[in-house]
C-alpha cells in the first residue's frame, strides 16, 4: 500500500477536476463524487497506516522508519532539485487518517447542508482541492512540496471563506485571511531559503542527518526556526497573526469545521513537528513558541468568553486550543501536541458541525442571544454537542482531558518557570470549560428567544448531517484511548507509534525532573477540578439566560476582542494607506508618470518644430548637406 501512496492525493485531485469541470452538469451528484474521492483516499490511508506500524524498529536512527515514494522530478538544475516525492512515516500517516477521515465525514455532512445552495458543485470542487493541498502538505518529503501544499490550503481557504462572494463583508474576510497567511508564508519561505543556502537540499531526511551531525551554528538554526514559526503563526492563527481565523467564519459552516478547526490550522503544528530536528537544537525558538502559545491560549480564551456569535465562540476556542498545542511544541512534547491535534480535530469538527446543525435549524441565525431551549427539538445535535463540550472542557475519560493534561504536564516539568506556565495554562483551561458551557447553556437551555416563525421551523437535521455528528461524538469520547497517561498502566499508543519518527528529539529532550506518580495524580485531580469549576461557573451564570446587560470594563474589552483589529488598523493599515496615497500622488503621478509623459512630450514638441526642415525641396537638402560637410571640415581644422 505504501508504494502506491500517490493514490492518496490523486483521488481528491480527480474529484476536484470532475466536480470542478462538471459543476453545472452534475447537479446533486457532485457531492457524492467528491465524498467518494475522499473516502477512497481514506481507505488507502488506512492501508498505509496499518503498514506503517510494521516499519517500526527497522532502519537506523529515527529516519529509518520512513519510506520515500518518489513520483516525479520537476526541477533539476545544478545543485537545485525539486521532486514530487512523498514521505510516509508514522507522523504523516496519522495526519493522513485525520485529514481524510474527518474530511470524508464533513463532505457527507455538506451534501445535506449545502443542498439548497447555488454554488453546490463549486463548493465540492473547492473542498476536494483543499483536501488535495492538505495531503500534499502532509505527505511532501521536502520543504518545497510542503510549501506547495501550504500555499494551496491558503488559496482554498480564501476561496471557501469568500464562497458567498456577493457579500462584501465575506470577501473582505477572505482577503484578510489571505493577506495574513501571506505574511506568515513569507517567513516560512525565508526559512526554507536559509536552509537551502546552507545545505543545498530540502529533503527532510537529508536535512535531519545534516543538522543532527551538528555542523551549523545555533544562531543560524534559531533564525530558521523563528522564520518557520512566523509561518506557523500565520497558518495556525497565533499571536500576532490570529485575527483572520475568527473572521474566516464567514464561510459556510462545514468549511469552518474542515479548514478552520480540524485540518488547515494544524498545518503549523505539523510543520513544527516535522522540523523537530531544527527546534530541538534551537531552545530559544522553543521558548518563544511556548510563550506565544501560552499568550494566545489565554487571550483567545478571554475573548471567547464574551462572544455572542456561536461560530465566533468556537473560532476563538480553536485559536486558544492551537495555543495549547504550541505550548506543547515549545515544551518539546511533540507527541502531546500531535495528540491534541487529533483529539481537537475530533471534538472541534463535532462542535462546528453541531453549530452548523443549529444554524440550519434556526434558518441562518448565528446569534446565541436569539436561541435558547433548543435541546427539546434537536436531541441528537444537543447530545453530540454536549459530548463535544465535555471533551474540550477536559472531563475524563473523554478525549480532551488526556491530551490537554499531557500538554500541561509536559509544561509543568519544564523547571521553575514551568510551574508559572502551568498555572496560566490551567487558567486558560478553566476559561475553556467556562465558555464552552456558557455556549451550551445559552444555546440549548432556557427559553426560546427567537421569533415565532423560527420556533415553528425548528427541526432536527436530516440523517446525512446527524450521522457524522454521532461518529465524531464517538471519536471525541473514545479518542483519548490513543494516549493514556502512564499511571493507568496502559501503553501510550500514540507515543509508541510516533516514537521512531521523533526519536532523536525525544532522546535529546529528556524530561527534567520527571514526576512521581503521586504528583501526577494530584495534577490530574487539579485539572479535573478546574474543569468542573469552569462548568459550574457556566451553569451558575447562564442556566437562566436572558438578554444580557451591556458588558463593562474588561469584559467589554474582551467582547471587543481586545481591540486587536482596531490596533492593527491604526498602526499598520492606516499608516500604510497614508503612505500609499503619498506614493501614488507624489512618486507615481508626479514622479514616474511625469517623467515618462515628459519624454513623450519633449519628443513631440521638438518633432513639431523640426518638421519644418523637411520642406521637400531637394536643393535645400543638398545645401544643408554641403553646409554640414563644410562644418565638419571646419571642426576638423580649427577645433580638433
Amino acid at each position: 500500500m505504501i508504494q502506491v501512496a500517490w493514490l492518496v492525493p490523486l483521488f481528491p485531485l480527480l474529484g476536484f477536476l470532475i466536480t470542478g469541470l462538471g459543476r453545472n452538469k452534475l447537479g446533486a451528484l457532485s457531492g457524492w463524487i467528491a465524498s467518494f474521492a475522499v473516502l477512497a483516499s481514506f481507505l488507502v490511508s488506512l492501508g498505509i497506516f496499518l503498514e506503517v506500524q510494521h516499519l517500526h524498529g527497522e532502519g537506523e536512527e529515527g529516519t529509518g522508519a520512513s519510506i520515500i515514494v518518489p513520483v516525479y522530478e520537476y526541477i533539476n538544475s545544478g545543485t537545485m532539485t525539486a521532486q514530487i516525492s512523498f514521505q510516509i512515516d508514522a507522523l504523516s500517516s496519522l495526519f493522513l487518517l485525520v485529514i481524510t477521515g474527518i474530511g470524508f465525514l464533513i463532505h457527507i455532512y455538506s451534501i445535506s447542508y449545502m443542498s439548497h445552495d447555488d454554488g453546490y458543485g463549486k463548493f465540492f470542487a473547492y473542498l476536494n482541492l483543499f483536501i488535495f493541498s492538505m495531503l500534499l502538505l502532509v505527505m511532501g518529503a521536502n520543504y518545497v512540496l510542503m510549501f506547495v501544499g501550504w500555499e494551496g490550503v491558503g488559496l482554498c481557504s480564501y476561496l471557501l471563506i469568500g464562497f458567498w462572494y456577493k457579500n462584501t463583508e465575506y470577501t473582505n474576510a477572505a482577503k484578510k485571511a489571505f493577506v495574513m497567511n501571506r505574511i506568515g508564508d513569507l517567513g516560512f519561505l525565508i526559512g526554507i531559503l536559509m536552509l537551502f543556502s546552507k545545505f543545498n537540499t530540502l529533503n527532510f531526511t537529508d536535512l535531519q542527518a545534516a543538522i543532527s551531525s551538528g555542523q551549523i551554528s545555533v544562531g543560524y538554526l534559531t533564525a530558521i526556526a523563528l522564520c518557520f514559526f512566523i509561518g506557523a503563526t500565520g497558518k495556525s492563527a497565533q499571536i500576532p497573526l490570529f485575527t483572520w481565523l475568527p473572521d474566516a467564519m464567514a464561510g459556510p459552516t462545514p468549511v469552518s469545521a474542515l479548514i478552520h478547526a480540524a485540518t488547515m490550522v494544524t498545518a503549523g503544528i505539523y510543520m513544527v513537528t516535522r522540523s523537530h530536528f531544527i527546534y530541538t537544537l534551537a531552545p530559544v525558538a522553543q521558548q518563544v513558541i511556548l510563550i506565544i502559545g501560552l499568550a494566545t491560549a489565554l487571550i483567545a480564551a478571554t475573548i471567547a468568553t464574551m462572544q455572542n456569535d456561536i461560530k465566533k465562540v468556537l473560532a476563538y476556542s480553536t485559536v486558544s486550543q492551537l495555543g495549547f498545542m504550541f505550548m506543547a511544541l515549545g515544551a518539546g512534547a511533540y507527541v502531546a501536541a500531535v495528540f491534541h491535534v487529533v483529539t481537537h480535530a475530533f471534538f472541534k469538527a463535532l462542535l462546528f458541525l453541531g453549530s452548523g446543525s443549529v444554524i440550519h435549524a434556526m434558518g441562518g441565525e448565528q446569534d446565541i442571544r436569539k436561541m435558547g431551549g433548543l435541546k427539546s427539538s434537536m436531541k441528537i445535535t444537543y447530545l453530540t454537542f454536549l459530548i463535544g463540550c465535555v471533551a474540550i472542557a477536559g472531563i475524563p475519560p473523554l478525549s480532551g482531558f488526556f491530551s490537554k493534561d499531557e500538554i500541561l504536564m509536559s509544561v509543568f516539568k519544564l523547571g521553575q518557570y514551568g510551574k508559572i506556565f502551568w498555572v496560566l495554562g490551567m487558567l486558560a483551561a478553566l476559561m475553556t470549560a467556562y465558555y464552552m458551557f456558557r455556549l451550551l447553556f445559552v444555546t440549548f437551555h432556557g427559553e426560546f428567544r427567537g421569533t415565532a416563525d423560527q420556533k415553528h421551523h425548528l427541526h432536527e437535521s436530516p440523517a446525512l448531517m446527524t450521522i457524522p455528528l454521532v461518529i465524531l461524538a464517538l471519536l471525541s469520547a473514545f479518542g483519548g484511548m490513543l494516549g493514556l497517561p502512564a499511571i493507568t498502566g496502559a501503553p501510550h499508543l500514540l507515543e509508541e507509534f510516533l516514537e521512531p519518527v521523533l526519536k532523536t528529539s525525544l532522546v535529546a529532550h529528556p524530561m527534567v525532573n520527571a514526576l512521581s506518580h503521586n504528583a501526577e495524580i494530584v495534577l490530574m485531580g487539579l485539572a479535573v477540578m478546574i474543569a468542573i469549576m469552569g462548568i459550574s461557573m457556566g451553569w451558575f451564570y447562564y442556566k437562566k439566560y436572558n438578554a444580557d446587560s451591556e458588558p463593562k470594563g474588561l469584559a467589554k474589552m474582551a467582547q471587543g476582542k481586545w481591540y486587536f483589529d482596531e490596533i492593527y488598523h491604526a498602526i499598520i493599515v492606516k499608516p500604510l494607506l497614508v503612505l500609499s496615497k503619498f506614493m501614488e500622488r507624489w512618486i507615481e503621478k508626479s514622479g514616474i508618470d511625469a517623467l515618462v509623459n515628459g519624454v513623450g512630450k519633449l519628443i513631440q514638441a521638438s518633432g513639431d518644430r523640426l518638421r519644418y526642415l523637411q520642406s521637400g525641396l531637394v536643393g535645400f537638402y543638398l545645401f544643408m548637406m554641403v553646409l554640414g560637410i563644410i562644418l565638419l571640415f571646419a571642426l576638423q581644422i580649427w577645433i580638433l
Partner: protein, 99 residues
C-alpha cells in the same frame, strides 16, 4: 609643370560641381555636376600619387570610376522614370513623398 596647378584645377572643378549641384534644378545637370566632383577628386588622387610616388591612390581612382559609372546608370534611370511620371526633370517638383 608644377603639381600645384593640378591641385588648383581640381579644386576649381570641385567647386564648380558643388555650385552646380546647389544652383541648378535640372536633374541631368545635377548628375553631371556630381560626376564633375568625382572626377575632380580623381584628378586630385592622381596628382598626389605622382607627388608621393605611391600607386595606391591610382587604384582608388579606378574604383571611383567604376562606382561612378554604376551611379550614373542608376541616376539616369531615376531621371527617366521621373520624366515619365511628371513630364519634367525639375527636381523641385518632387517635394512630396505621397502620391
Amino acid at each position: 609643370m608644377p603639381s600645384q596647378y593640378y591641385l588648383f584645377l581640381s579644386l576649381a572643378l570641385f567647386c564648380i560641381g558643388v555650385m552646380g549641384v546647389l544652383m541648378r534644378r535640372n536633374a541631368i545637370i545635377i548628375l553631371m555636376c556630381i560626376e564633375l566632383m568625382l572626377n575632380a577628386v580623381n584628378l586630385l588622387m592622381v596628382t598626389f600619387s605622382k607627388m608621393h610616388n605611391h600607386a595606391d591612390a591610382q587604384i582608388f581612382v579606378f574604383f571611383i570610376m567604376v562606382v561612378a559609372a554604376a551611379e550614373v546608370s542608376v541616376g539616369l534611370s531615376v531621371v527617366v522614370l521621373m520624366y515619365r511620371k511628371t513630364h519634367s526633370i525639375d527636381v523641385n517638383i518632387l517635394n512630396r513623398l505621397k502620391n
